[in-house]
Amino acid sequence: MSDFGILAFGAYVPITRLQRSAIHATNGWFAGGLGGLAKGEKAVANWDEDSVTMAVEAARDALDGVDRASVERVVIASTTLPFADRQNAGIVKEALNLPDAVGAMDVTGSQRAATSALLVALEGRTTTLVCAAEIATPRPASEREMTAGDAAAALLIGGGTPIAKLVASQSVTVDFVDHFREAGAAHDYDWEARWVRDEGFARIMTPAIAALLAKAGIEGDAIDHFIVPVAVKGVPEMLAKKAGVSDAAVADGLTATLGHAGAAHALVMLAAALEGAKPGARILLASFGQGCDLLLFEVTDAIGSVKSRLGVSGWLARRIESANYAKYLFHRGLLHLDRGMRAEHDSKTALTALWRNRKAVLGLVGGRCTKTGTVQFPKSEVSVNANDYAVGTQEDYPLAEVSAKVLTWTADALTYSSDPPSYYGNIDFDGGGRMMTEFTDFTGGALDVGADLRMMFRIKAYDENRRFRRYFWKAAPAF
């Protein structure tokens, strides 16, 4: 019987890093007490990203070199899922162009949603892609605004040759309300931090960690990676000390470079730990939220053989520094700029047409003529090949993972964009296929004819009248 455990891991961090000093420069007059947090930077998702699109990128990172047909279930964990009733994991599945015969599940409602989802997958028998993503909208001038960051992670769980195996786990569930957010609300409501630290983190997690270690028959000093995704300064160190875990084992919370990615942060930190983990290393992942989930992993000898495409470090290195706090507020819907009449355009989606074209729209699946080999997007009944009138000869040809180059481009300041100017143009895929698409994550200078591109799954338009978001693929500079 083959071993069961973590087969692959990946992460995603949005390219924009908002400087906390820029936030404080605007809000300091009002919230002077946050000055101590006004250092470093936080990752903020672009206007066209949400938890689903970020999860897709993390999954692509994890599945690099993996046969996607092996995935039997897709899970997304987040407290900021875009849809309350439309399976978010189903959108991830379509974007990854997985076969229809897979299971799917959305897990939400707590800061430990991702670890709970991970635990269930690890205790199951199916090959499960566990994604976690979070895009926070903290109230301006709040402490959360300083500490939060946007990110995603993904883990493939299944049988075979795992890179890490679950040794023991421990869960506690108590309705300890350190903060809450009503369904559909944008902002959290937080209770006093000192109470949360003493009665919450310390009193709930400490005995649970001790119980976990006892269950595994090890002492705290046997832990090599102590992962506590808690944004409050000093808490991971405090818990480590109480558990007998060495200071050196306490994992970096990515505060300075990324911020705290909510329910996704546990998996983001786990992915970061797996990047540098050595065979035999023990990883304790401890997440908190109305109790806690504790997972103890042992890294296997296979750890060196599996790499994510970029991993947390790779994504962190792909970075655009920004001091534009107003732009961030506008993109989160917290600053109501005059968008002009062009923004009034109705982006209603015909759900019938979306269903018919779901592979093209969500999966960027084009067509390839079985007769001439001509590749095109979208697929059509009659091939675009000018020299051969071939009807019904096209087979699915996925283009999402194919690299592309700029054929033409412009920076359009007239058409409405949430991030003007709107960059778009014609692109050519390597090996054939062409489309006109938007460019995203560009700062301008890098764009020219012949520039290398990578496709990314993004929000194309938001229908404000019906509160429906339309997804599609855009081109980003290759990385």
Binding site: G340, H345, D346, T410, A411, L414, P421
Partner: protein
């Protein structure tokens, strides 16, 4: 027997409303303005018109769909009125309907109207609209300047033209059209501009600045066509006939296959070759006397000079800078100001171009009249965007040419 449409159909009368921001007029009033002039020119009663075509691209802006708005505006005598829409080529498309009707023998006299009321949107530029349910999920609508600006990026890359050189050639196109528009009382924009103004204007869509973009206007233009024989019977002596009328529509090759390099209009090249063949023109650079092209943007006009086989590929920008297409150059382009300054009421533009060519051939163009009346005059009316479009070409000329 003549090949194609050549000399089968004559223009009996033409009219054109004043283009511009016609805040006080509805589209039906603009159509009437063009119609009255055309009817006076034709010298016929409305009862002689057998059928009519209306070209309008943004019908939702004022008149609404179908041929009914034209029939009502002109109180046409219960004849068949067909509304056509083919993006910005709708004007020439309506002309094509009327010309074909006469050429077929089904009609003795037919009317073509192109009209547009764009200044009811509340903002500058063209109205934002859907391009279809499926397109909106996977395509880019963008703005017109954004779509056409991409020509410049590809043209620079394909022909190795320096960014500043191309920008200067584009600016020359606009400076020339503004100088021409200043002599045209019906033009929307009648003010000359300098190179400096054009080069330093605010950027609309890289590299197109404000003056690289044509005016968006209200307006209407009208043509009444018949056979040369009937025209003579009605007392006409200087007969202007249709020499060629071609339309090429993208089938998705440019946008989806991989042969197109983004720097030119495939359709225009196809339509131009067919049109010259139809008109019996073998050397367009020498034989054409006047051209009106679809200069929605300066860069469009520039590459169109090559697509019409007038300038050599990659050399159009040099001809432009040499003044070849200026009003006093060898082959004037946009002697009436073009879309740039006469204005661009979408559905009317194709007919406005033919109107100017018609006036010039007959020596009726006033202050901007060419010294020697043109013999062959070409108009080029384009709709869509570089990677997917409708390109139409109408060549008219003296009957004996």
């Amino acid at each position: 027997m003549a090949k194609g449409i050549r000399d089968k159909v004559a223009i009996l009368g033409m009219g054109c409303a004043k283009f511009g921001e016609r805040w006080d007029k509805d589209e039906d009033q603009l159509m009437l303005e063009a119609y009255e002039e055309a009817m006076a020119d034709a010298g016929i009663e409305a009862s002689r018109i057998d059928a009519a075509w209306l070209g309008a691209a943004f019908d939702a802006q004022n008149i609404g769909p179908s041929g009914i708005p034209l029939a009502v505006a002109l109180r046409l005598p219960d004849i068949g009125v067909t509304k056509v829409e083919n993006y910005c080529a709708s004007g020439t498309e309506s002309f094509r309907g009327a010309v074909y009707a006469v050429a077929s023998g089904a009609c003795d006299i037919a009317l073509a109207m192109g009209a547009e009321k764009l200044k009811d949107t509340g903002y500058g530029g063209l109205p934002v609209r859907t391009r279809g349910t499926t397109h909106d999920m996977i395509g880019i609508t963008g703005s017109a300047p954004g779509n056409f600006a991409q020509l410049a990026s590809a043209y620079r890359g394909v022909h190795g033209v320096d960014k500043d050189d191309l920008k200067r050639a584009m600016a020359h196109v606009s400076v020339k059209s503004h100088a021409n528009g200043a002599k045209n009382p019906k033009a929307h924009l009648q003010k000359a501009v300098t190179m400096e103004q054009v080069l330093n204007a605010p950027m609309i869509a890289e590299p197109l600045g404000l003056f690289d973009c044509c005016g968006v206007s209200d307006g209407a233009a009208c043509a009444i066509v018949t056979t040369p024989k009937i025209a003579r019977a009605l007392g006409k002596t200087d007969i202007v006939t249709v020499k060629a009328l071609q339309l090429a529509t993208s089938n998705g090759w440019e946008m989806q296959a991989s042969g197109w390099n983004g720097s030119y209009f495939h359709t225009t090249r196809v339509a131009a070759t067919k049109a010259y063949d139809e008109a019996g023109i073998t050397d367009p650079r020498e034989q054409l006397s006047l051209i009106e092209v679809h200069d929605c943007f300066s860069v469009t006009e520039l590459v169109t000079m090559e697509d019409l086989h007038i300038s050599k590929e990659g050399r159009g920008w040099r001809d432009v800078l040499d003044g070849f297409f200026d009003a006093d150059g060898a082959l004037p382009c946009q002697i009436d100001g073009g879309l740039k300054c006469f204005g661009h009421p979408i559905g009317a533009s194709g007919l406005r171009m033919i109107y100017e060519n018609y006036l010039q051939i007959l020596g009726r163009a006033g202050e901007r009249q060419r010294q020697n009346n043109p013999v062959f005059a070409l108009s080029h009316n384009l709709g869509g965007m570089p990677n997917q479009n409708v390109s139409s070409i109408a060549i008219i000329g003296r009957e004996d040419a």
